[in-house]
Amino acid sequence: METKATPSAATRPAPSAVDVFTYDEKIVRMFVLATAIWGFVGMLVGVLIALQLPFWPANLGEYLTFGRLRPLHTNAVIFAFAGNSIFAAIYYSTQRLCKTRMFSDAMSRIHFWGWQAIIVAAAITLPMGFTTSKEYAELEWPVDVAIAVVWVIFAVNFFMTLKQRREKHMYVAIWFYIATIITVAVLHIGNSLAIPVSLFKSYPIYAGVQDAMVQWWYGHNAVAFFLTTPFLGLMYYFLPKAAERPVFSYRLSIVHFWSLVFIYIWAGPHHLNYTALPEWATTLGMTFSVMLWMPSWGGMINGLFTLRGAWHKLRDSVVLKMFVIGITFYGMSTFEGPMLSVKSVNALSHYTDWTIGHVHAGALGWNGFMTFGMIYWLLPRLWRTKLWSQRLATTHFWIGTIGMLLYVMAMYSSGVTQGLMWRAFDEAGRLLYPDFMETVVQIVPMYWVRLIGGTLYLTGVILMGINMYQTIKSAPKELPDPSFAVPKVATA
C-alpha cells in the first residue's frame, strides 16, 4: 500500500504532476533509542525492588526504599519504556499511513524532549518522596501540568498530520492512535485535579469513595489506553509488514475497535470489589470487565490469524517470534483480567501477588515483546544496515520468554498461596494463620524466583542494547529522510 520509494526524486526537479515528500525518520530513531534506554532503567529499578522484598537490607536509605522506588519502577516502564515505544510506532506508521511528513518537526521535537524531561523529573521527584500516592498518577502537580502540555502538543501535531494526509481512508492503526490520544488526555486531566499546597504537594479535589472511583477509572484505563490501544495500533501496522500478509479481517477490526473503546472505560471499579465503593458500581465494573473479554480477543484473533499461511516464517524471523509471544500474552492476560474481576475470584486474588503476576504477564509479555519485535524490525530500516546479530536477537527472545514465565509463575504461586492462607480456618473455626507474618515468610522463596525471572528478562534487554549499539555502529554516516513521490491529487 506504500508508494514505491524513488530516492532520487528529491534531487531532480519534480514535474508539476508529482508530489514529492519526505518522512521524518530522525524522530523515530530518537524515540527508539529512548525506549531502549528507559526500558533498561525501568527494569533495573524493577530488579532492585524485587530484591528489596525478600532482602530488606537492599532498601538503601531514605531515598531508595521500596515505597519510593515502586512508583518510580511503574512510571518508568509504563510512561518511559512503553511510552517512548508507542511514540516511535506512531511517528513511524502515521507518516506512512497518511503518506505525509509529520505536521511540524518542531512539535515532534518538543514532544520528544518534553517527554524525556518529564521522565527525568519523575526519576528525581519520586525518590525524594514527592508523590500523590495515586497509582500510576504519583507525579505531583507541576509534572502533571507538563504532561498535559506535552500531550496536547503531541495531539495537535498528530491531528494536523491526519488533516494533511494524502491517503483518503484512515487505516485501523490510526483509529487506535486516535482513541489513545483523546482518552489519555481525558483520564490524565480528570484524575489529576488537585489543589496545590506547595511546589511539590497537593490534595486531590476528590475524597474517599469518589477519589477511589476516579483513581481506578484512570488506573484501569491507563492500562487500556496507554498499554493496550496504542499497542494494538502498533500490532496492526507492524505485524502485517513483518508477516507480509494483510490483516485477517477488516470487519472484525471494526467490531472489536468500537466495542473495546466503549466497554473498557466501565471496567475500573473491579479494582475496588468488596471495598466501600457501592456494590452497584463494582457489579457494573465486573460485568463490563467480563464483556471486555470478547473485544480483547477480537484483537488477538485478528493478530494471530493474520499469520495464516505464514507460520513457517516464524522459524527465521525473530520479529515474528516476538510478535507471536506478545499477542499470545495479550490473549492470556485479557482472559485473566475478566476472570480476576469476577468477585468470587477477586475475593481470593485481591491484595495478593496474583495481581502483580497478572500485570507483568501483560507488561513483560504484551508490551515488552511487541516493543522488542518492533525495534528489531525497525533497526535495519531506520539505520539502513543489517541487524548485527540474528543469533543474539534469538537469544534475547528465549531468555526473555523464560524470564517472564519464571516471574509470572512465581507470582501466581505466591499470590494463591497467601490468599488461601489468609482465609484458612481451623476445624474449630479460628484463623489457621492468625499471625500475618506466617503468610509472608511462606512466600519469600517465591520472591527469590521472581528476582531470577526479572533478572533474566533484564538480561535480554541488555542483549538487545548490545545488538542495537553494534547495528547502529555499522550504519552509514548520512541518513537522509526517505523521499517519496506520488501523483498530485486535489487535497481533500
Binding site: T65, G67, P196, A207, Y351
Partner: protein
C-alpha cells in the same frame, strides 16, 4: 449492521472523516465514566455519613502526608473487606462514610504487610516508634525496611495552617479557629505522644520529630468508627 461494516459500507466513509471519527470515539469513552461517576456524587445515599467520623487533627494530617511520602500505601491497605476471615484478623470492614475527609483515599491495592485501617489503639505509641526504627525489634521476621530517619528529621509545623486551609478548600470542614491554632494544637498533641514514649522508657526528645506525627496518624486509624459503635452501645 452489515451495511455498516462491509468493505465499502458506512464505516469506510467514516474512515475518511477524522473529525467525526474522533468525536464518536470521545462520546464512546465518556459514557461509561459518566454513568459510573455522576450518581456517586449526586446520590447522597451512596456514601452514608457517620456522625463520629471527624476530620484529622493537624498533627494527624502531617502524619498522613508522611505516610504518603514514604509510600506506605504501596504495601499496606486501609480497607478491610466484608469477609469473616478479614473481620477476625483486622476488625470491622470499611464503610463508605469513614473516608469522606480523606484527600486522597489510601485504601491501597496490595497487602505485602497487613491492613492498617484498624491499627489505631492496637499497639502502644512506643511500639510504633520501635517498629519504625527497626521493624524486626517488634516483629522478628518482618521484611519491612527501617524508617529510622523519622526519629531524626524535624517536623514542619509551620506549613500546617496552609495544609488545613487547602483541605478546607476541597471540602474538609475546618473552622477558622482550628486553622488559627493548628500549630499550637499539633505541638500539644506531639508533646503528649513524646511524653508517653519517654515515660515508657523509649527515646526522649521526639516532640518535634516526624515520627510523632506518623504515630498520631496511625493511632487514629479506625477510631472514629469504634467511637460510633461505642456511642450506640451507650444508648
Amino acid at each position: 449492521m452489515k451495511r455498516f461494516i462491509k468493505t465499502d459500507g458506512l464505516h469506510r466513509k467514516l474512515e475518511g472523516w477524522p473529525l467525526v471519527f474522533t468525536i464518536l470515539v470521545t462520546i464512546s469513552i465518556l459514557v461509561g465514566g459518566v454513568v459510573e461517576f455522576v450518581p456517586l456524587v449526586l446520590v447522597k445515599s451512596n456514601v452514608p455519613r457517620i456522625a463520629t467520623v471527624k476530620p484529622f487533627t493537624p498533627l494527624e494530617v502531617a502524619g498522613r502526608d508522611l505516610y504518603i511520602r514514604e509510600g506506605c500505601n504501596n504495601c499496606h491497605s486501609q480497607m478491610v473487606r466484608p469477609f469473616r476471615h478479614e473481620l477476625e484478623r483486622y476488625g470491622e470492614y470499611g464503610k463508605p462514610g469513614e473516608t469522606v475527609y480523606e484527600h486522597p483515599f489510601l485504601w491501597g491495592s496490595k497487602r505485602t504487610g497487613p491492613d492498617l485501617s484498624r491499627v489505631g489503639g492496637k499497639y502502644p505509641n512506643l511500639w510504633h516508634v520501635r517498629h519504625m526504627q527497626d521493624p524486626r525489634s517488634t516483629s522478628p521476621r518482618s521484611i519491612m525496611p527501617p524508617y529510622a530517619w523519622l526519629l531524626e528529621k524535624e517536623l514542619d509545623f509551620d506549613i500546617l495552617p496552609t495544609k488545613l486551609r487547602r483541605l478546607r478548600a476541597v471540602g474538609v470542614p475546618y473552622s477558622d479557629e482550628e486553622i488559627a491554632r493548628a500549630v499550637a494544637d499539633a505541638q500539644a498533641q506531639a508533646r503528649a505522644i513524646a511524653a508517653d514514649v519517654e515515660a515508657n522508657k523509649g527515646p526522649s526528645g521526639l516532640e518535634n520529630k516526624e515520627i510523632v506525627a506518623l504515630v498520631a496518624f496511625l493511632q487514629r486509624l479506625g477510631m472514629d468508627l469504634k467511637a460510633s459503635t461505642q456511642a450506640q452501645a451507650l444508648h
